[in-house]
Amino acid sequence: MTPLRGPILRGAVLGVVLLGLIAPIVVGLTETARAGFGQLPALGHVGWSLEPWRMLRDQPGFVTSLRLTLVTGVGATLIALALAVGFCAAMSSGAGAGRMRWLAPFLAVPHAAMAVGLAFVLAPSGWIARVFAFVLGWDQPPDVASVHDGWGLALMLGLVVKELPYLLLVMASGLSQVPVARQMAVGRAMGYAPGVVWIKVIWPQLWPLIRLPVWVVLAYGLSVVDMAVILGPSNPPTLAVAVVRWFNAADVAMILPAAAGALVQTAVVVVAIAALCGAEVVLRRAGLWWLRRGGRGWSWGPGLRVAQGGVVGLMALAALALLSLLVWSLAWRWSFPMLWPEGWSGALWMRADWRMAMLHTLVLAAVTVVLALVLAICWLEAEEDRARAPWAEALIYLPLLVPQIGFLYGLNVVFLRAGVAGGYAAVICGQLLFVFPYVMIALSEPWRALDARLLRVGAALGAGRWRRLLALRLPMLLRPIMTAAAIGVAVSVAQYLPTLFLGAGRIATLTTEAVTLSSGSDRRVTGVYASLQAALPFAAYGLAALIPAWWHRNRRDLRGGTA
């Protein structure tokens, strides 16, 4: 076997990442930017101009869309963060990652599926309203805006419900690296209430570990399309939805303001993340001032209990939403104000032609996840000989931070020019852009946390690099690797825009079918696809938990704990 040389390996992986992942985004953004500044030769627009920006400014509701985007995206992120912090602080004895495993199903469900379920639960004719109808004897649904409300509250709720489990899991895995219980004891011995110790001592250690995931959540919330269509206001919609509408308008000249809008969307995300960084600096100063004053503060107990209750309530809502999807998929008729379907049928499951879509989804998920794992393992293995390169790492996460709508149109043009569009290869590349960073987020902390002395012992026993990797590191990291793979499967399954744009619509996956069929809005068919869409990542999480548990059934130190 050839020796694995760190610098060469790092260089190779970096090359793949740069050429395969980053270049497409940059080129895609450039292509979008060209259209945004009036360069669209296919439609006879040549020469730079600011006309697209004038058109964008004159779009009715543009300012409202922008405001909606900021309020819902930033609001949802802050609320989810506050709830997650409160929940973790309330469970201050140390919320182990193992105890958070019950959240995995909610993490596995794609946003669109969750949104469809929530829309049904919350709608004026939905499950909650039907309970009221049953109690109060309504014969028709109330005319209230409980979804699609003008303030975007339903959309915010949907985003919080979907992002909360992710933040909780990320925090739990971050907390497993902080000696919470001991520091808690020290703090309380000095007369601080548990909540105050958590905020003053634990949180500053936790934040650097979860900063990136929070950025990802913020970027996602600001640029989400599918959820915003299903739960958000429509007149006007959020900016991302408006941009998609313009890209798809019958009047093809609308591509110009659409491209400009895509650039604004990108700028919104950049500015929001910059603002978060600014807030971090200010709050760190303020926090230090507060810390040095030494005030023992008031009891945070009630606030923490509210957060705890909020999290439990929201997760109950999520469970209800998922249950409603399954019930719908098996219903024949289920009209207001019935609490339960009037007629059941398996016909939708038999008829809906989901087998092909399932096969495509499985193949794509398998290939992208394996590629992403190989890349991630190479990347992390290369760290053994060289210092971490923060700038290179930052690049990996770029695809999660730049809004998809900003570069996918341009990327499609680039791929067509290269002659790789419309096939598996293009879709795999496109999905890898998003699967790889999530796999890296999931794998890098446990990888780095592994006791390096174990590998030194291995080297001293004469094991070379390959043997150390294959016989020591990978088996010991089986559980986090499987977890990363499961997260990768969930991300791959949920990809909508890349699959659609880069597959020329020909590669039908469960998600593209679910979104297309939800435009036909037969909730039962949507229920079938959304159930399948949720089932696949759920199965992956299940395997990720079961396989290592079985494999290491006689190894106490590897059961539970890190994952």
Binding site: A250, S335, R524
Partner: protein, 394 residues
């Protein structure tokens, strides 16, 4: 000038078609046609799958439906291919297309053709000047797209809950006043929402003939003034006070089923009967049209200029015009869409196939649907949607 010349062209090529057609058939054999069609309707999807089995058996041509959530996705894809210089071997072979999308593609030179006159089954169509199949939203078709199903604007409602629906669009103001929050329409950025406004425009415009010409500022101001007055009176009594709208007619159908509103609308007169059969609408749902008639148009298929399998696409377009295919399509248990063929041109076997079709209670007869109102010129729709957004999107 150029237009009229193009209009003559198909006539010139009308006769020597048969020899060319066998050549097309030979070329098409073994091809897979990527049919880009809106995929939100499971029955239409099933019909297209059935078409594939038929054309594969008869001509060796497979049809693969690329399911769109909006037709413009296919248009954007062709534009992206043109932007990338991919002028042959394009990924879109055939598009289910209509009105503004057709106008856009035709204007940008993104279509293959003229080809309709080459299709043997074109003989069953009434392609005479001014016939329904020769214009699409008043834009001359000129052989660049081939008809396949009839669309006519209808309302559906639950007859068990409402019985006093107005006979005119104008009458909806009073009706909505009496039934606050029980009426809405899809967002006008959606095709059906725009059609609801057009239906009112056609009924209320002082001079309907003006709508057949490309829109001008003056004509628009004059023709639309009564519409906006009507809409301003209507809107406060709409569902959720007219602040938000369902994304599409299908979403509104769901709302009708849920009892959130009392009225929905469709471009397919058979969709209500189909919805009942499918369990997506209450058994008491029925169809109604304004007394003066409703907007009607024809759905077409077009072939992009760079289609990889243009010959196969022509074969499929021709198959869609078979009398047997059209009768199958009109069967309520299959699709229930009305045929685009000219009944007068059918032979005995074709006529018999139509006569044998089953009936359903919620399925209106073609005669019961009232007169067909012409679609305004496509530019009116674009303008109407823009103006609506300017007035009501804040």
């Amino acid at each position: 000038m150029k237009r009229s010349l193009l209009a003559v062209l198909p006539l010139l090529f009308a006769t020597p078609a048969l020899a060319d057609w066998s050549q097309t058939l030979a070329e098409a054999k073994g091809q897979t046609v990527y049919f880009n069609a809106w995929g939100g309707d499971a029955r239409t999807n099933a019909f297209i799958a059935w078409v594939s089995t038929q054309t594969e058996a008869q001509y060796g041509v497979k049809v693969e439906q690329v399911k769109l959530s909006d037709t413009a996705e296919a248009v954007t894809r062709v534009i992206a291919e043109k932007a990338a210089g991919q002028d042959t071997g394009g990924s879109v072979d055939m598009i289910w297309i209509n009105g503004p999308n057709f106008l856009a593609m035709k204007d940008q030179g993104l279509l293959h053709g003229p080809f309709v006159a080459d299709l043997p089954n074109a003989k069953y169509l009434d392609l005479g000047a001014g016939s329904a199949a020769s214009v699409d939203f008043t834009v001359p078709v000129e052989g660049m797209e081939s008809p396949w199903r009839l669309a006519k604007f209808v309302f559906s409602y639950d007859s068990a809950k409402v019985s006093d629906l107005p006979e005119t669009m104008a009458g909806f103001v009073d009706w909505a006043g009496a039934h606050k929050g029980r009426l809405t329409h899809p967002d006008p950025s959606n095709f059906m929402g725009a059609t609801f406004l057009k239906q009112a425009l056609v009924e209320m415009a002082p001079d309907p003939a003006a709508l057949q010409q490309p829109v001008t500022d003056a004509a628009f101001a004059q023709a639309s003034a009564p519409l906006w007055a009507w809409y301003d009176a209507l809107r406060p009594n709409l569902w959720q006070a007219g602040a938000t709208f369902p994304a599409s007619a299908e979403v509104q159908n769901q709302m009708l089923n849920d009892g959130e509103v009392d009225v929905s609308m469709s471009f397919d007169p058979a969709s209500t009967a189909a919805g009942i059969a499918e369990g997506t609408l209450p058994a008491t749902a029925r169809v109604f049209v304004p007394k003066a008639g409703s907007i009607g148009n024809i759905s077409f298929v077009a072939i992009p200029y760079n289609a990889a399998h243009a010959a196969g696409a022509e074969v499929v377009a021709n198959f869609l015009l078979e009398p047997a295919t059209q009768a199958h399509m009109q069967d309520i248990s299959v699709l229930g869409s009305f045929s685009v063929l000219d009944a007068a041109k059918l032979d005995a076997a074709g006529a018999a196939a139509f006569a044998a079709l089953p009936k359903a209670e919620a399925l209106p007869a073609l005669e019961g649907l009232g007169p067909v109102l012409l679609e305004p010129h496509a530019s009116w729709m674009t303008r109407l949607v823009e103006e609506w957004a300017k007035r009501y999107t804040k």
